[in-house]
Assembly symmetry: C2
Homo-oligomer: 352 residues x 2
């Protein structure tokens, strides 16, 4: 009989950690020990996983020992510091932060799209993509396998919950201030009202507004998230010269990212064949009956695992291009779920 | 001395009519009589224009007589019925509805882009584009004049106020219900809460949500507004074979439409030259300093006339393509202002 591998969840007390414990409790139990780690400040808290109470330990060299797989659900700087320690102590690391996403020796993996990539990990680390990439990639990857992707033009409609508790609190208090008032038709009135509630981590109000920015400034006017979408999509699909143009926009939605996708392929496409592919691909749900109000929206997909796809159309001026609207929960597939799936694929190596 | 032409405002009591009376009161006074017309139900109301009180008359064959220019700010079916009557009685009609936008004998005019087109009007009618097209076309037209437009991929972030009072009321009551609650993280909870407030004219909730649909169903999964964006842009720019792929998405914003624009040109572009063009084009404001939070949002542009442009980037994989984020007030330039500008250009013909 083979041994069940031991798992460490690093960052168990955060928002993504909470979703991870839920997922580990629902999925098939492939793990021996599950150890919960967090900052010393959170050590001693007791959390439930697999129906059992489990005390949170302080992240450290000691507590990373004796672990087969370490799931890192922490900010990039914490991953950069501690993932190599976990590897040195014998663990395979699955990292959900940006710390290693563009490291050529760290595979970037979406199990529905490039599961094989997780097997070759020179640094002992596997990275999970950013939530915006994950909201679209299962659908885009499935279509690429059939038609051969040449170019993507994407625009995002990003929720705030991926930005942390301050972001959610800011949107909630802004909404309380503007709700029921006559704001929104005179210059400056939303800005003034929301100024009282505070912008939180954002550069503009989000209640009754949208903001064309996500991430930090990069070169030539691009944001880090726009460049990330391009770089990560190229790595996951193994298309290093793929043309990608992305604009990231934040919208007043709490959870679930949406994107419009213009995808140009090598071969001619049909909506019928695209529907067949999307309806049968793992991790994708097709919901495309707009004449009856059938299209995914954040309110429909929050709390669910798959990428939802609707509004599938063939470009009127290009028989090789498809238009899509995709929606995915940024806290589930967008963060905890994809990392859990990678870890479970690595766990399966232990029973071979 | 030349005679000042007489103007009729048809639909003076509606939301766009109110903005029109404000604009007519602020602009240079080029009109002789200004006659206010509306449905018989609204006749007898007294509205202020140019600082004077003016009684609203019932729209009819009689009240359309003796007018040089008739501004129609009414639903398409009302325009279709009454615009030909106004023409038969001697007026030039400026129509803001969809009734004549695709009629090859009716020019579709944006004064900053194709002013010459307003001079040739075989049916005596000039049409004004849809608000979504108007939110981007001054910027796109200016860049086209320099670089030669080949292709557009656009995604919209559309406000609700263009859909009328029911739409605004629905979003307001939905916001009141969801504000301050813990909604938005469990499947179905926003849908349930908003269900109590009612969806108004929409197929999905808009509070804490976005909806990938605007208009009525057209062929092959497209919406009428998506096809309108393509057809109108082609007509205004006189590019009948322009490649256009649009996805229209409604967002929880009261006033001001935004769009992401991927524009591919014949010639190579630079951000520097694009900035120069946008900074000096009529009806366009450049606001592009993202590292300091400088980009247009609906909250900034509501109540203003121009198209605001930010996030100007050259596509990383195509030296002939630019990415933009544009924002414009759908009730001003998007409706009343553009029609007023067309009417004023026609008024100028009377003084020649």
């Amino acid at each position: 009989m083979t041994r069940k591998p031991a798992l460490a969840v690093v960052g168990a007390t955060g928002a993504v950690g909470a979703v991870m414990l839920e997922i580990l409790s629902q999925h098939e139990n492939v793990w021996g020990e599950i150890r919960l780690l967090a900052s010393p400040r959170s050590a001693g808290r007791v959390l439930a996983v697999r129906g059992e109470e489990c005390e949170v330990l302080a992240l450290g060299e000691e507590t990373l020992g004796g672990v087969d797989v370490a799931l890192f659900l922490v900010p990039a700087e914490v991953s950069a510091r501690w993932a190599p320690v976990a590897v040195a102590r014998g663990a395979v690391v699955v990292d959900s932060s940006a710390a290693f996403r563009l490291d050529p020796e760290v595979p970037l993996v979406v199990p529905e799209v490039n599961p094989h990539a997780a097997r070759i990990r020179p640094r002992g680390i596997v990275a999970s993509p950013h939530d915006t990439t994950l909201a679209m990639i299962p659908a885009v990857g499935a279509l690429h396998a059939e038609f051969g992707l040449r170019e993507l033009v994407v625009s995002s409609y990003q929720a705030v919950s991926g930005e942390g508790r301050d972001a959610v609190a800011a949107l909630r208090s802004q909404l309380s201030l503007v709700a029921g008032t006559e704001l929104g038709s005179t210059p400056g009135d939303v800005r003034r009202a929301v100024g009282e509630a505070g912008l939180g981590p954002f550069a503009a109000p989000l209640a009754l507004n949208v903001m064309p920015w996500a991430g930090v400034p990069a070169d030539d006017g691009w944001s880090s998230e726009e460049l990330g979408l391009r770089d990560e999509t190229r790595r996951i699909l193994d298309l290093p010269a793929l043309r990608v143009a992305a604009t990231c926009v934040r919208v007043p939605v709490l959870t679930a990212h949406s994107l419009t996708v213009h995808a140009r392929f090598e071969r001619e496409v049909t909506v019928e064949r695209a529907h067949e592919i999307l309806a049968t691909s793992p991790g994708v749900v097709l919901y495309d009956d707009p004449a009856s109000g059938g299209f995914p929206t954040p309110a429909d997909v929050v709390g669910t695992d798959p990428t939802w796809v609707g509004r599938v159309r063939r470009a009127l001026d290009d028989p090789c291009a498809l238009e899509l609207f995709v929606c995915g929960d940024n806290l589930r597939k967008g963060a905890a779920l994809n990392s859990a799936q990678i870890a479970e694929a690595i766990a399966a190596e232990f029973s071979r």
